[in-house]
């Protein structure tokens, strides 16, 4: 069936070089901050300060405090840390599953391919947040359960990408030309197949991190992710919901902005990378 499939959100982003550089700087800063914050500014997760609840942003608390008097900026950094960690690990899990399925479908081909891809199509139709909720509910909310629930529901696009790349490579005469030139099976795999497939898989993993972050924050927001006292972005937005009615809008604002900025930065960097992978985009106009 001739179908144009663009299955990932944020895959439309077409940043210029300057935009991508800006995004890379933002992303690097965020990652660095997440890595350094436990060393420079450790957080006691369970500490509350009831003498300064729901304070608006000031110089001492640049993002204000929440309804338990906790510093929102500080907890946002910790939340980002946990979200990015979960996002990266879950994306890796999803890539492993998807990569394996895609590799089998793309190399074996024929009926195996047809059946696997039909299964992928069908699994893609499963409501993945509901499945995630189910998995987490049955395993008790925990880091492992969240990662598993994301990994099991997000591998499909990677499977499709790997399969499509392998299938298109299989029919390309340059593989034939390599064989005819005396290349061994191992050499064709390592020199001609993997160099095309691996960057695409890495790209797919990167683009999956924002999804994993959304999924994780959604579960936490619903109270099904990490234990509520832990600083996670979803938990914080949920906490902020309580303060909202008292007019303390800042408690939810900063963690949400952190999600938006970081996922946009990841997507912009990945999109730039994708454009560089594709020489046809670079050539742009063939006369």
């Amino acid at each position: 069936m001739p179908r144009k499939r663009r299955l990932r959100p944020l895959s439309w982003l077409r940043p210029g070089t300057r935009g991508a550089a800006l995004a890379a700087v933002v992303l690097a800063t965020a990652i660095l901050a997440c890595l350094l914050v436990p060393l420079l500014w450790p957080l006691d997760q369970s500490a509350v300060a009831l003498d300064r609840i729901n304070q608006p942003p000031t110089w001492t608390h640049p993002a204000g405090t929440d309804d338990l008097g906790r510093d929102v900026a500080h907890r946002t950094l910790y939340g980002l840390r946990v979200s990015l960690l979960i996002g990266a690990v879950a994306a890796l899990v999803a890539t492993l599953i998807g990569g394996a399925v895609g590799a089998v479908a793309g190399t074996v081909g024929g009926w195996t391919d047809r059946i696997l891809m039909r299964i992928v199509d069908t699994v893609a139709a499963l409501p993945h947040l509901l499945l995630g909720i189910f998995i987490v509910a049955m395993l008790r909310p925990s880091l492992g359960a969240v990662i598993l629930s994301i990994g099991l529901t997000h591998w499909l696009s990677t499977a499709r990408i790997v399969r499509a790349e392998l299938l298109s490579l299989r029919t390309r005469p340059f593989i034939d030309a390599a064989i005819s030139g005396g290349a061994s099976r191992v050499r064709v795999l390592t020199r001609h197949l993997l160099p095309h497939v691996l960057p695409r898989m890495a790209l797919a993993t990167t683009l999956m991190v924002p999804h994993a972050v959304w999924h994780e924050t959604a579960l936490s927001f619903l109270g099904l992710g990490l234990p509520p006292h832990l600083a996670s972005l979803g938990n914080m937005i949920n906490d902020g919901q309580r303060s909202l009615l008292t007019g303390a809008w800042w408690a939810s604002l900063t963690p949400g902005l952190a999600i938006v900025v970081v996922t946009l930065a990841i997507a912009a960097v990945a999109a730039h990378w994708r454009d560089r992978l594709d020489p046809r985009v670079r050539a742009e106009l063939q006369l």
Binding site: R172, D176, A177, A178, I179, S180, G182, A183
Partner: protein, 230 residues
């Protein structure tokens, strides 16, 4: 018997039989032209002769020695005796590699010696400048890319060269250049060349004898008379 030959080769894709007990022989140093309508199995025949496709029945022989299997099952030393030049240089070149890497690839695959010198020599033969060698396929024209593919095909000094509509997409000048390079190689190494083309003028000029394909529906092979053949 010397030469590259297909003996009673049958190839079917699913229910469709593309080649039905087809035979062909290309002797050393001769240029055999093959012509016929689109979709008559010419390209499949090239893939079979290039040992890239295992026929369902029949076999290929090189200088009288039958070859079993195809692709990786054939020893690299046997595979490299047959060069192939495909119709579309775009799809026959790895878009990631520079033109120099494309030419060097078969040499590296067989761990040849003095690869750098050989690449320079091949590039010179194919008329590629050093500036072009550094570029990737998307930054050169079809004609320039096909020259690189030609250099790659000649890297192992093949005894047989199969050209599957290799100049159809090229300009007259590049076509003449490719033909000149191949003919020159043929004269120096006694290469047997299979030439597939729709262009009667090119066929007349280049091929020593012409076979109409599929053979059972056409007149027997005719020899082309040449006043001069450079």
């Amino acid at each position: 018997m010397n030469g590259l030959a297909a003996h009673e080769v049958t190839v079917a894709y699913g229910r469709q039989t593309v080649l039905d007990r087809a035979s062909i022989h290309i002797g050393p140093g001769e240029t055999v032209g093959l012509r016929g309508p689109s979709g008559c199995g010419k390209s499949t025949l090239v893939r079979v002769l290039a040992l890239l496709h295992r026929p369902d029945d029949g076999h290929v022989s090189i200088d009288g020695n039958p070859v079993t299997g195809a692709r990786y099952r054939v020893a690299a030393a046997v595979r490299t005796r047959i060069g192939v030049l495909f119709q579309s240089p775009r799809s026959a070149a790895d878009p990631r590699l520079s033109l120099a890497d494309i030419i060097a690839e078969p040499l590296r695959a067989t761990k040849a010696e003095r690869i750098q010198d050989r690449v320079v020599e091949l590039a010179y033969t194919a008329g590629l400048t050093t500036d072009l060698l550094r570029r990737q396929p998307h930054a050169v024209s079809d004609g320039q890319l096909q020259r690189a593919c030609l250099a790659r095909a000649l890297a192992h000094r093949p005894d047989y060269l199969l050209c599957d509509e290799a100049t159809t997409m090229l300009d007259a000048s590049t076509q003449a250049h490719v033909a000149a390079v191949i003919t020159d190689h043929q004269h120096r190494h006694g290469t047997g060349v299979l030439l597939i083309t729709h262009d009667p003028a090119l066929m007349h000029r280049w091929a020593h004898r012409v076979i109409d394909w599929p053979p059972d529906q056409a007149a027997p092979a005719t020899a082309v008379e040449h006043a001069d053949h450079h």
